[in-house]
Each structure stands twice: as C-alpha cells, then as structure tokens.
Amino acid sequence: MRYEAPETLDAAVALLAGESGLAKVLAGGTDLLVQLRSGMIEPALVVDIKRIAETRRIQEESGGFRIGAAVSGAEMGEHAGLKAAWPGVVEAVELIGSTQVQGRATAAGNLCNASPAADSVPALVAAGATARIVGPGGSRELPVEAVAAGPGRTSLGRGEIVASLFLPARGAGQGDAYLRFIPRTEMDIAVVGAGVCLTLDGDGRCTRARVALGAVGPRVILAEAAAAALVGTTLDEAALDALAEAASAAATPIDDKRGTADFRRRVAGVLARRTAVIARDRAKGAAA
C-alpha cells in the first residue's frame, strides 16, 4: 500500500486518477483506518488530504460558510459564527464519536463514507448544503443528498474528491436541528436520524421546510411530503402529527441487528416531530 500526502488538490486528483488499483482518500481516517485494520478494504493507494491548505479552512462565502473537507468536527464546534448560523448541522457533527474521534473526524468524510446512518448527513441535507467536487474533469457543485449512491457507495467518479462543503446563508426566521435515536447514550450508531430545517414568517407560519431522515433507507431520505406537512402551518399539534405520519411513511427501513423495520418507521415519525419542535424554537429565536 502506497501513502501519499500531496499539498494541492490538483496533485491529489492526479494521484487518485493515476492509480489503477483501489485508491482511497484519507481525511480524518476514523472510518478508513477502521476498515483498513479489519481487512475490509485493501487499497493500493491512500491519499491523505490534510496537507492541502484549502481543505483545512472554514471560510465565509456569500453570507454562508465553505467548510474544507479536512476540517474536523472539533474545529466546526469551535467556530462561533458557524455554530450560531447552523446549530443543527454542528450538533449533528459533534455527535460523531467521542472527544478523541472529534479531533479527527470530518463532515466530508462522514458524507463520503456513505453510511445510511451517518449523523451529519441528514442535517446537511436539511440545511440545503452542497459539496464541491474536484476531479480530472474540473470542478462541480452537487447537493449533498446526491453524493451517496447507496450504502458505502458514492456517485463520485474516478479521481474525484469532495474539496469542501458549502452551507448557504442563513435566512431570517430560519432554524435547524438534528436528533438521532441510539440504544445507548453515546458511542453508538444512529438507528434513526432526523434533520429538520425550517423558516417561519413574522406570524410564526412556516414558509419553507426541509426534512431529512437517516438510517431508515439505503441513503439519507429527503422527505418532501413530511416537509410539506409543515409549510403553511404554525407547527400546531395537527401539523406535527401530520409531519410524524409523513416521515414514518417516507421511511423505507429494513429489519436488521440494529432494529426492526416497524420500530424504525415509528421512531422516524417521533424524531421528526421532536426535531421540528427544536428547529421551530430556534427559528423563533432567530426571528426575534
């Protein structure tokens, strides 16, 4: 196995595109190293992107934030501006692992690992985040929900890297939140995850909403019917019930060692509801 740590994105892309065997990007390594050690994967080339300066920065851009692909969860948690604008995204990233894991794990790695249970992804999807992808053919911007193709698979082409994630400017009256269900209190994997981002007008009426569900399908689900159940309402009980029902209906879970399909469907509704309430309260705080 060859290890390379280039200092530019172009060099990284060239290395990845030039390798005929299995080539893997290394960000924090909290997924990759586990997979290497267990013998799950045996890459011919590992390209560490942490020495590329632009992957290490959080930058303001068009009122939003561009987060380099090698920025760790801990760095995101310490960024006051980011935290104030996107508390739901940051709390989702901060749920990943422990203090030790937080020092390494990245949101882009969480996204590219393409686990249906990845914690930051439903929050990013709800937030309307995009990923900047660079590759041999140049650079393109992709909605985050289009990055994962299935469990452990991405839509990235040969030689392509996620260079950064972009969170748009936070609108007036907007709030986001993320909740997950785990059987333990920490160090666990989401059995269900729910991210909600919504906007309230001056009367507290929801004008826009995005609801994303994790771990209840092969990829994170953007639940449009669930979001529609909120739009036009003040998030009264009836609307929240409708949201929960729509979220349960949108879930396509399976029975596995982590929970039954029936359980996940029900809890998806419960979590969507609880997450929406937190997002609503944050939106109200933002409007005030």
Binding site: S38, G39, F181, P183, R184, T185, E186, M187, D188, I189, V191, D256, K257, R258, G259, T260, D262, F263, R266, V267, V270, L271
Partner: protein, 747 residues
Amino acid sequence: MDQSQTTLPRRFKVVGQRKRRPDGIDKVTGRARFGADMTMPGMLWGLVLRSPHAHARIRSIDSSKAEALPGVKAVVTGADFNGERNDVSINCMAGDKALYDGHAVAAVAATSRQAARQALKLIEVDYEVLPHVTDVDAAMKPGAPVIREDLITAGVEPVPTKPSNVAARHEIGKGDVEKGFAEADLIVEQSFRTEATHQGYIEPHACVASVSPDGSAELWVCTQGHFMVRNVCAALLGLDSAQLRVTASEIGGGFGGKTTVFVEPVALALSRKANRPVKIQMTRSEVFRATGPTASSSIDCKIGLTKDGRITAAQAELRYQGGAFKGAGADFGAMAIFTPYDIENVKAVAWDVVTNRPKLAAYRAPGAPMAAFAAESTLDEAARRLGMDPLELRLKNAAREGTKAAYGPTFPRIGLASCLEAIGNSAHYRTPLGPNQGRGLACGFWFNFGGETCTTINVNKDGTVGLSVGTPDIGGSRASMCAMAAEELGIPYEKVRTVIADTASLGYNDVTDGSRVTFSSGLCTIQAARQAIQRLCQRAALMWGIDAEAVVWEDGHAKPAGPNAGKFEPLSLAEIAAASANTGGPIAGHHEVNAEGAGVSFGVHLCDLEVDRETGSVRVVRYTAAQDAGKAVNPDYVEGQMQGGSAQGIGWALNEGYVYGDDGRLQNAGFLDYRIPVASDLPMIDALIVEEPNPGHPYGVRGVGETSIVPPLAAVGNALRDALGVRLTETPMAPPRVLAALAAAAE
C-alpha cells in the same frame, strides 16, 4: 454495616479498611503488562483461520501455498493436536467438522503480521456446508439438524438409541409439587427467553508461547488460571507439565471467560513446529465469534402461593444451549432457580442442548442470571396479583439458617433476610417515583466455591514480606491478600507485596473462579502466615534461649508468654528476620488446602428506571445492590464487584445479546453492535454491604464476585413491568421490544 462489628469475634486492624490497590498505579499509567505486552527475540506472529460456516464438514485442508509464502514458518491444523482430542481440544482447533461460525480450522505463524494475514488467504479449505441450528428451542425439535453425531442424551430412561442435540437432562427437587400446587390459592405460570451475552472483557485473549527443541516450554498468557492452562495445554499437546512453565500476565477482565484455553495450545503447537516463539493476539471480532459467550435460555416457570403469600410449590423447566459442546450449565440454573426461598415442594428440570454456536465459557454465576430472571419475574407477578409488597413477599419466604435447599445442603448462617432488610431500610426504597418511572426488586443466589489452593509467605531480612499466590488477580485480590497477611502478621499493609507466582513456583491452584480467591487464597494466606508466625516464635525462642512454647505473637512482635518465660523485650518481625542467618536461615510459611466451606452468597437489587414511551428507550435512573460479603476485606473492591456485576446484568437485560443471521453467522461481533453499557448509560450504583460472617473462613469472608449479576435481569424486567404496565419476558429488553409490547398491549 454496624451489626458486623458486634457479631464478629475479632477487631480487625487492616482488614475492612479501604487500602490503596498495589496494582493501581501501574494500571493507570500503562506500565502494567497484559497478555499482548510481551515480545520475545525471534518471535513470530500467529493468526487463526476460522470457519465462515455455522456447520460444515471439512473435506480437506491444503496449506501448501501458504507454507510456500516467504516468511511463513509453520501451519497447524487439528492434526497437530497430538494429545487428548476432547471437547476443549476440538474447540481450539476443529476436527472433521466446523461446528460454528468462527471455529478455528487452521493457524499460521509468520515473521510478520502481513505475511501471516496473506498466508491465511492461501489456505484452501474444502467445506461441505451442512444444515445448522442456533436456537435452543429449534435445536430440541424433532427433525432439527443433529450437529454431534455421537451425542446420546444422558439422564433419560430408557437410554435413547439415536443421537440428538440434547446432551443431558437433570432434575433437582424435593417434596411433591403436585400436592404443593393443589394447596395453592394462586398459581402463576410464565415463559422466558434470554439471549446469549458475552463477558465483554476489554482485553482480547493474547499469549506468547515458546517451545524449545529440548521439550521445555514457556507460555505468557492472560488467563484466570495459569495452572489450568498448563495442565490442559500439556494434555492436548502431549507435553510434560513440569516442562511447561506458564506465567499469568496482568489481566484486562475475564468474568469467567478466561477460565479455559483458546489460542494457547495453538500458539504452543505453532511454536513447536516453527521452533520459534509465537504470539497470538485475538481481534475483537474473534473474541466475539469464538470465545466464551454465556448460554442462551428458554425457561418455563410456575409458582403456587397461598392468599397470604406463602409459596407452596415451585416448578421450572430450563432449556439452555451452550454452543456445539455439552455443558450449557442448565443444571446450575436448576440448582439455583428457587434457592433464595424456603419452599417445601420444588421441581426443576434442566435440558443441556447443543447448537451451532461457540462453546460457552463461564460468565459470572454461570447459569443463574437467566434462571433468576424467570423465577423473580414470576414472583413479581405473583406479588402483583396478591396485592402484596414484593419485598414483604420475599421476606416471608426467604431462606434462612436451617433452610434445606432443593439442591441438597442445609444452610448455615446466610444473609438473604439481612439483604432484604437493608434494601427495605434504604432511602431508595421509600423514595417516590416520577412520571414514566418504574421500580423493580429481585433476589439472587450463587453457590461460591473453595477449591485447590496453595500459597507461600517469605519473610525478608528487612522485615518486609513477600506473598506468592497462584490465583490471578482479576478484581483487586492482591490488595486483599496483602491485607490478610498484614492482619495476621501484625505488620503494616504496605510491608507486604503479593505476586502471582508462575506454575513452576507453587503447587497447583484452581482457576480464579467461583468467587473463590478472597475466600480460598485468603484462607490459605492466613494459614501460611500462621505457620510463619510459628517459625518466627521459634526463632525468637532461639534468640532468647527459651522454649518455643514460651513465646507468643502479638501485634507483630514475639513476646514471652508470661512472667515464667523470662523477661525479654519484644522482638519485632523485622528484628527476628534480620537475625535469621544465625537462627536457621530464611523464614517462610506455606499452606496448601482443598478449601471447603465457601459459604453461599445472596444479594438483593432494587432498580428504578424511566421509559420513553414513544421510542421505547429505557434509562436506569437509580440502582441499589445489597449483598452479603461475610466480611468485606476491602470494602472498595467488594463494592466494585457489586457495581460491576450490576452493570453487566443491566446490559444483559436491556441491550446485550448475540444476533445470528439465517445463515448461522454472528451479525454483531464488535462493541458497536454488541452494546455493553457505557459509563453515561448508568447511574452511580449504590452498594450496601451486608456482613453475615461465613463460619467456613477465619475472618468470616464469603466470595462476592458473582452474585451481583444474578438479580439485575429480573430487577430491570420488574421495573419495566411497573413502568409500562406490560411484562417483557425476553432479553434483551431493547427499545424495539419495548415499543412492540406497548403496541400489543394497546390493541
């Protein structure tokens, strides 16, 4: 507890104090050497090839390609196990069949881990996959695949003519249950199932073996019993046990799971073949797939009571599977199930069943927690139906001194009633519950064990003392040994150092199991100290020129027995030791025993939990454990045992369990999906130490290591019943089951 001070005959100086643990600093600084911390010159890395099939005939194994790989020094298979080919041997290395997912079929030793890993892939095993069964009830059904063709059920008449998956039937009982049930006003009957759990020790099995061409061998290993390792490995490989010296490393948890061998004979066989030292270190996944889970069980339980809460009869049928080898421990379950109670009519039938799962290893009170889950849940239900307080119901029926247990013995002094009273008097018991909370109570019993034990005390010239014991320290026992030696000799705790001697330095010691070490090695230490004292007195007599009988030992000093003995200044242990060259040489004390009188152990647990009725999430919010320690030599470590067993039992109740796929493969061979509780999952567990002295030990000590895992399954289950209004009867009582039970109840 205060009562102990008045009931115990002696006032202790060191015993009963919370002394600093001698292995503490090394363990928190990382200096302690565990199984994986040993390396030797020229050492090879050993890796084990494991069956991916739950059940398969091994038609052939071709290792020629692996052997040709550069760096590979040896490959072994079952054929290299040239000693006894018993169940333990076959579990370490398969014979003509792979009996479970993870069963070892071959092993390699190579100069690097990479080479060894590559070599594993080059070993060609020709499997004929056979039908499998992993569930205990399914394995007992007619038509189930028979996994051991030579297994004829023992204990049934007439003797079966055909093999089956039922290894044995056992029956325990007394009185006449038919008569007892006829006298009952209320009969409660329920069935329960528990999934297999793993001991979950943090340290995977690891060892380094070195076999010399002259036939002598060394083995460094993390184990609960290095004498057992020596004897078993010698037998499996046809070695001479005097030639095999085994040294026990520090141990990162065992809980019963390190009371047998897995990779040790494999490392020895590889080393013998390669003529180089070989290290084997299991991965976590190997630990889950191929080492010691506990039995899974299926139990029917029936209890009859009078209106005023007197138990008239109790009956149970217990079906346990313990993997592909006989010995699932259902008989222990049957012996333990109703033992906390004084019941005239008892019948417990146990079925020992084999399935395509790894061979069970002991886990803290093996066989008892699932039995207690059934009995204590059924009793809880009875208390509800009678409208009686669950504690009162248990006190009314509690076994006491003079009670004859269904499994045989008549109890001497025991502490169950005292534990119930301690819980009844606790603030916890009287604190009102909050919304969505429930409270559960359960009792537990464990036999405790004594066993073969041998210790040596050496008095050093500077007045310090070296104590050699043969029982690996898995719970702070060196601290307790130091305390007992210091107590007896009358010297400060800090003057004693206890080591776990290797197998060449002491006589045979049974493994650290059955909660036996503080009891047996403690008893042996006290006797060895008494022998050393006798010799110290003889030396003082020589120094004074008087008869040895005229010398007594008090407060760490030899003193003339009385005015007639002469007038001499007391001599301290250090003074006698300093002069020992002139009085006959080194001073030592030794004792060996097959200890009896271990003294049974009882505990009572009280659990409060809170349920999220929308997600099924359960959080234990308060937990109190009361247990009879006889005499707590070091209260810190007694509390530690009570808390540790409670934590493991809560994990078993709520989230832990082996998950097998339809293909017979283990689905959750790692700590991510095998969920032991993490620190933030549990409240501080309150430990109430009760001290009813054990008449079988000089200081009244009883073992405390195991009982604490017996009550939690039922304590949690009963609390859940209280909170939910419905009873869960199958572990793990995980959120999907909680929600499903609520949904079923709502219909």
